[in-house]
Amino acid sequence: MQEMTLATLIAVFQEMFGPVLFWALVTTVVVITALYVYVLIRDRSLSMRRFLLAQLSMPIGAVAAVTFVEVVTDSHLRDIGGAIDVIVLLGVALLGAFGFAVLVYTAQSLVRRQPQKAG
């Protein structure tokens, strides 16, 4: 790669998903994050019950993310060849885990209006 600015990266991502899907994905991420922040502010505390469920759902998010990447790219865990591969794989899993946890937490909070204070 020659010059890699954020503008180049955005251009490449747009080509990867198509501009519509790319911006839809970006919007989804932004909206879910905003909703998460919104319920945190609204409830003024982290509900430990919801947090527990969100934490329990993390492995699902991690496995889903890794499986998704592997299916899309015709590859398997056996293809991990070096340290950077492990790092990228963990990164994918972490992103999946945290993304899904935030989603689960936010969804619970939005469905159940009444905040449940943790004991």
Binding site: M1, M4, A11, V29, A65, G82, V88, L95
Partner: protein, 441 residues
């Protein structure tokens, strides 16, 4: 979500960390447009011609930019290797030429038939004659299938014959023949031409992919792999050649050097090679096959070879354009540039090279328009994610001096078989290629 990691280099990471500052730093690089009435003609709307046209439109005001190309489809050729291994459909490589050309460019949808660099004119097959101030030749190269006796493209897919270079349909037919071999086993024979060729890693990729798939399908012991090539090494860059030699050893792929494919007997499933051994003794040898992969000799298109633009003392049977290897400017006709596969430079017949060549030609062209000299130089950068298995590849990037050029120093090791390098080839390469066509990468 994961994808930013795939493409992130340290530089990109820093750019991302710098956030919006980086965006604004990245964008107004195209500040002021240069005013000109110049007529710029570009022959070929492939990777090189399209990428250059997209950038010139951004940089010039009032210029007349004409692109000549008779082909309605645009081919993403790096995808052919994946099609020929059953990993992508033929359509993956296909789009329309007009999808990519920017507004403000005039497309003449006919092949160029003649160039007169003295009169500065280009004639098209349809009889139009254009006068240019600057000419950029980027018609890629032609595949000389006729040079191999007994071979013709209608054999591809039958009788165990593959030829993935020939285009998307032939690449899928190649997979029909190759997949039969991976299921039934037998002798696999993989070749490459004696001429210069585009993406010199592609013959290796096909060999590695078919071996990998065969090992998981029919299973080890049921098939033999032979790589028969005219050269005396497995790759032109010594450090890469050694790595490939070791991989071939591990994978049980036999190499045969000094073997030029001369003819094919499809009924008897025999391929004939002209051979030259290490001592210089020549001969002929017949090799049997159950699957044969043919990559024919490659040459500059006739329109170039007949125009007097080719080197007179190099590559005489191939006709690449005589350009300065740093500026890609013609050595005898300074208003002519060559870009992409047709350029007569020692390395660089890849789309990745095009990405590095385009800014150089843009720089020298703009400087010439404003009466000055450009400053950028092309260093021979060539890159080819060398796939070694379904799921793994090695990032191979080098320059004129056979030095490895690392895009991701300290992060992605160049000669290591890695999953991330595979991910790049699978997801990031086409996107980067497309962004390049739009002049944005």
């Amino acid at each position: 979500m994961t994808l930013d990691r795939l493409t992130a280099s340290r530089r990109a990471f820093l750019a991302a960390a710098a956030g919006l500052a980086a965006v604004s730093a990245g964008l107004p690089a195209r500040a002021q447009k240069l005013q000109t009435k110049a007529h710029i003609v570009i022959i070929g709307a492939g990777a090189a011609g399209t990428a250059l046209a997209s950038r010139l439109v951004e940089r010039l005001e009032g210029a007349q930019i004409t692109v000549i190309d008779g082909r309605a489809e645009h081919l993403y050729q790096p995808g052919l290797s994946l099609v020929a291994a059953g990993l992508k459909p033929a359509a993956y490589t296909l789009s329309r030429t007009t999808d990519w050309l920017p507004r403000g460019v005039n497309l003449i949808a006919e092949p160029a038939a003649a160039i007169d660099p003295v009169a500065k004119t280009v004639a098209t097959v349809g009889g139009q004659v254009l006068t240019y101030d600057f000419l950029v030749v980027a018609p890629g190269l032609v595949l000389d299938h006729d040079a191999i006796e007994g071979f013709s493209l209608d054999l591809v897919g039958r009788n165990g014959i593959g030829a993935l270079y020939a285009g998307p349909d032939y690449a899928s037919k190649t997979w029909e023949a190759a997949s039969k071999f991976t299921q039934e086993g037998g002798i696999g024979l993989f070749t490459r031409p004696a001429t210069e060729m585009k993406c010199a890693g592609a013959p290796l990729k096909h060999t590695f992919l078919i071996e990998d798939i065969a090992s998981r399908t029919v299973g080890k012991g049921k098939y033999e792999m032979h790589y028969a090539v005219p050269q005396t090494a497995l790759f032109s860059v010594p450090i890469v050649a050694e790595k490939v030699r070791m991989l071939f050893g591990k994978r049980g792929i036999a190499s045969h050097f000094g073997h030029v494919l001369k003819s094919v007997d499809a009924d008897r499933k025999q391929a004939t090679f002209a051979t030259t051994d290490a001592a210089g003794v020549t001969g002929t040898v017949e090799m049997p096959y159950d699957y044969l992969h043919v990559i024919p000799p490659q040459r500059a298109p006739d329109v170039i070879r007949q125009s007097g633009l080719s080197w007179a003392d190099k590559w005489m049977d191939q006709g690449w354009v005589e350009v300065d290897q740093k500026t890609l400017r013609h050595r005898r006709f300074p208003e002519v540039f060559a870009l992409g596969d047709v350029a007569g430079v020692p390395k660089g017949k890849t789309a990745a090279s095009v990405k590095w060549q385009v800014p150089v030609v843009e720089d020298h062209l703009l400087a010439a328009i404003s009466g000055g000299e450009g400053t950028l130089a092309y260093d021979g950068y060539t890159s080819c994610p060398l796939i070694t298995r379904v799921g793994r590849a090695m990032l191979v990037e080098f320059d004129y001096n056979n030095n490895l050029v690392e895009s991701f120093p300290g992060v992605i090791a160049p000669l290591e078989e890695l999953w991330v390098s595979w991910l790049m080839k699978e997801v990031a390469l086409k996107a980067t290629y497309n962004a390049m066509l739009r002049g944005r990468a």
